[in-house]
Subunit: 317 residues, 5 copies
């Protein structure tokens, strides 16, 4: 689908006018949205708008990393829209020219929908222009990254605050690795976007930026905070993972202590019982009255001796 929005020199809004009417002298600025376009519509990028073939290639190809390319007067942006649950990235591209903006996306985009509606209000379309459309899209998209990171931080805090007794470490470990993978995926979008904003701010090629410097700096600021949160959370997951390793190793020690205590107490006792279970004809102890009780006493002594030896070594703490 392809839709247009144009604002005339005297501040009137024209919707869905044909592409041919966009370039008239009466048009102050325009916005064309390629919303899941058909192959025929895609053709227009080249045949009508004459965008650079490399930029058109980037629109159609698999997922690009967020970036900005400068082609003479037209600036080509690639941004990511992230699915809040799966973190799957969808590409949103736009061409920012001197007279208007052309957005392009192969999947429906909620963020574009919102900005489109916003620009149907007179207060907005009369005061702002296509440069502000670009800002609004960037701002909206970056704003959607925060809830994702907040959800991840919540999951992480929950993991951290769980008591360490009787927990299923293996399932917690897997959660930690899931979170690490999500942070990695998030970083692959956030870091190039941060660099993109930095390049917007430090370049003087894009005309709309100068007047709206504070606005773009605000997005850059958000991206700095996102980067720091991602790195900091990566380090927290590393610590969590290591602490689970320690806990696991501690439990192993406890298991081995149990095994060793039991073995060390009962092996000598069983051996003693084995001695008096031998069938030698001449074993004087067997024929005494006190033999059985004596051996039982010795066994008790050996058993408790072992027990107190372990106790003194601190194995039961």
């Amino acid at each position: 689908m392809l839709r247009t929005l144009a604002v005339t020199q005297n501040g009137k809004l024209l919707e869905n006018i044909s592409l041919q009417n966009l370039t008239g002298p009466d048009i102050k600025w325009f916005w064309v949205d390629f919303d899941c376009p058909s192959p025929d519509e895609v053709e227009l990028l080249d045949s009508y708008f004459h965008f650079h073939p490399l930029a058109i290639e980037d629109c159609m190809h698999l997922l690009q990393r967020p970036k900005i390319d400068h082609y003479d007067e037209t600036h080509f942006f690639v941004i990511h829209s992230l699915h809040p649950e799966t973190l799957k990235a969808e590409e949103i591209d736009f061409f920012l020219g001197p007279r208007g903006i052309v957005t392009f996306h192969l999947a429906p985009s909620l963020e574009i929908e919102e900005v489109w509606k916003q620009f149907q209000e007179a207060a907005i379309y009369q005061e702002k222009d296509h440069n502000y459309v670009a800002y609004s899209l960037l701002d909206k998209l970056v704003d959607t990254y925060f809830p994702i990171l907040y959800r991840i931080e919540d999951e992480l805090n929950e993991l951290e605050s769980e008591g360490e007794v009787n927990v299923d470490i293996q399932s917690m470990t897997e959660q930690v690795y899931d979170i690490r993978a999500e942070l990695l995926r998030l970083r692959r979008t956030v870091i190039p976007t941060r660099d993109l904003l930095y390049r917007i701010l430090s370049s003087d090629k894009i005309p709309g930026v100068k007047e709206q410097h504070a606005y773009f700096a605000d997005i850059h600021d958000h991206l700095l905070k996102l980067t720091e949160m991602i790195e900091s959370n990566r380090e927290m997951t590393a610590d969590l993972r290591d602490s689970y390793d320690s806990l696991r190793s501690n439990r192993m020690n406890a298991i081995m202590k149990t095994l060793t205590v039991i073995t060390t107490i009962f092996m000598p006792l069983t051996f003693i019982a084995g001695i008096y279970g031998m069938n030698f004809e001449y074993m004087p102890e067997l024929h005494t009255h006190w033999g059985y009780y004596g051996v039982m006493g010795v066994m008790l002594a050996v058993g408790f001796g072992m027990y107190f030896w372990f106790k003194r070594k601190g194995w039961f703490d």
Copy 2:
């Protein structure tokens, strides 16, 4: 609550005068403090002071990272006040303009209270101005980070100096991970604040900095030291964590040695006893007089043999 402090051209201090009187030609400089302001008072940031909407948004939003934004003649600062125990960060914002300073905080702030009192003394309010208020706040806040780090270093030194015999490694490991988490939290405040000071020092946008360069450089210096201490302590905790892993693994070796020694000594003995416990009719040894004593001798020999073999292999060291 909203309170004001203004100094006239001839060095008189006016307290709690209304906002309307702040801009008169008689006022040399002023300080307005938004101390846990009501929604109506917050409105004044926009309606009376006409601060930039993005800066006002940052005041009201959740915790921002420490930063400085430049809006024409007004400079907007975000700084963190850290709770000494929980390390929870509270945001303190201020707007530094050519004629005065406006501070804003949603929670009560001890540091602002202190500076406020300090500026009620003639010696101060006559010689210094609103730029020095900004310096004093930054200095006070950064000074509060040191006791936190010193406490962490003390905890760490205590952990390090504890003997390694009979200690509860698991609880010490958990303490190490707590300290690591605290250092991480501290770093999220200190590093952006350090960058903020660096930007203050290397920019020439803020008029008060030039005359007080040494003062701001002193704060920057403190932040450099804090950063180094944090990084160095992070590395120390990593070493401590690894040394506990080694210790744990060492103890496991000791446990397994105990188990193996006991098993290796008693299993063959029990087996020998088992042989002479069999009920075969024709077992010549059973009927000899020396049989029992001979077997006991063999057992003793096997037992001590094993013992000395382990001793020679150094398992009892």
Copy 3:
């Protein structure tokens, strides 16, 4: 083998003309390909083309890292062609001069073959020149790196999505280390190539780059994406490796639990049976009617007692 391709001032294509005819005033530009050259042909680099001895040395020596060297008007490029399966790198060199390009490779190259054919079409050889040959070779070669990385990512995703029950961790671990080694090898080609493109873009020495800046920037962009994918996948393999370590350690805990439970239940029971297997004459219990049943009851109680104790400690979860 040595082959030539030349385009005259009036747009005619000459193929396989002799080297002597390449420098005539009628020749607009030329391309000479040293395809697995004989030692005699290699001589021509020096005797006919007078290339710098260091560049010729680099052609003949073992594998060089991707790089660009500037010798007066001639620019010397070293690029890698990677075998899609073994990732073995073959070197492709070219000399880009003001009047033509000379390519050199000691192994047959599919990419050069393709570009050679492409330049036999009038539409191409009339519009483009030897600078575009250089671009096309770089573009083709870098494009071949993607399928390799996509295959690695697929292998990695397969590993990640495999269930964690009953898998052979050791073979999966080895796969992870194989992938890590492949990523390392890939990085040794991609990173110097990325730096090479960066130097092409930021230098003004190479005449063809300015007009085709967008084209070279597109290759640089591909290399940035490759770098990020490699680093990100390296981190994923590190996480995978660590998670296998955790899994392995978890299984060890399960094995030890089994051992300990069995030992702890049966050792005391065997000991009790051993007591009543002793041959003392005076053991009153042996002569009672209920003795056998009583001992069996005690054994059942001890066995189940141990079992429930472990159950309560959560060892069977």
Copy 4:
């Protein structure tokens, strides 16, 4: 204690003259040393020399990191003197002005003592000036860092060269962690000092540096070498620590093999003996003549069978 040294325009040395005489036109340059000064003497920094309050604060406060601060014509240096055994840092501060140098230290300093004596020789005090005092102090102090690092390297080499048989890994591990902690402490002094020298070399604020550039570059060079040695030794300790982990884990494998071999050989044998120890009335084997010898043969076969099975699996290598 406070002592002075002044050189007159005609090259005469005046010692311990009063502060008031230092500023006369006859004095070419002077050196004042605050050696463990009394509170009254400390006052002079402010009342007589009028140094900047922030610099004076740094003198009195706890340990500062090595740094240089510029206050108009006076340059304030903080350097560390390290205790060769404990690596405890003592602060040595100096103020380098256009007419002289003022050194300040709260603990006695051997290095200052040495330089003081050196400057009592005519050959030195006539040719050199207070800038060379500054250089000499920096040089002396940095020279004292080398023996410390050489000692650490010796300890490390000794650890590395020790055979790996029968060593007490736990005590060696602890030595490695001690060395790591020392390197960390050393780095906290060396790195800021290196940065300080770099700033001296690349700044043109300090008048004496230009003429003595080679001298200051030599100290910087020493600090670069120290930094590299520290980092390289840190990596060596990391490798040593990891190799001890491997060794420990290897020993655990050996212990477990011993345990498993013994258990696997004797458990089945003890079981067989147990079978023929049962008291069933109808066990035909018990009543044959060859029964006992047959069972002993079976036991021998089982035992040796197990033994050779382990041997073939390579457990005894």
Copy 5:
């Protein structure tokens, strides 16, 4: 020993002329080699050549890191010659001045010998000068680093390609750590040398570099490749080390499985045999004809039951 080589304005070679004759107007350029000089000869650095005392100090002191220092018209180089087996570094220093070069080494140097011979041929000494001596020495020395790294890579590849069955992991682990230590030592020479070349290339202080830029760039290129190979091999050894840890841990699992299977099968069986080895008078089973066979059947069932339970759990895979 001290030897000289001088070339006259009309291209004649003078060997072993005295130092006094080196500075005559007839001499175009000269080379003086201090080959394991005696203390008297060392004196000449100062008394005859008047080199800077700091440079002379560096010649005599213990091993310096590779570096370049500029003293007016003389440039002082420190380079390392590495022993191919032990990787022990020997220092080779040279002073490059406007009229000649002075080399200095306390140990005999094969590389200097080679270059010396090379410059005795007319073709060389007539066309090239002392600047080319400097280049040749650098080139020769850096070329000797490659065989060392190739040998290390070969050792590493051999380790990698060894099958993972029945190998002695501990000895392989030690080999890996030896290789890591060698790479570390190599890096301590290569990285400062790379920086030194970079400084030569980017500085315009050294007169000979401009004309021979391509030659020095070629050495820099070699050093870049060496650096990359070292880093890449360090990462490979890290992976190898980790994979041995995994393998070791896997073997431990296999050992523990063997132990647990044996224990779990035989403990219950031994217990059953123990029950019927008790000497109670009233144990009805003992007196039945089928008792013995029944118990043997139960034992078989228990044994095989355990066996198949482990089989189903996949412990025998």
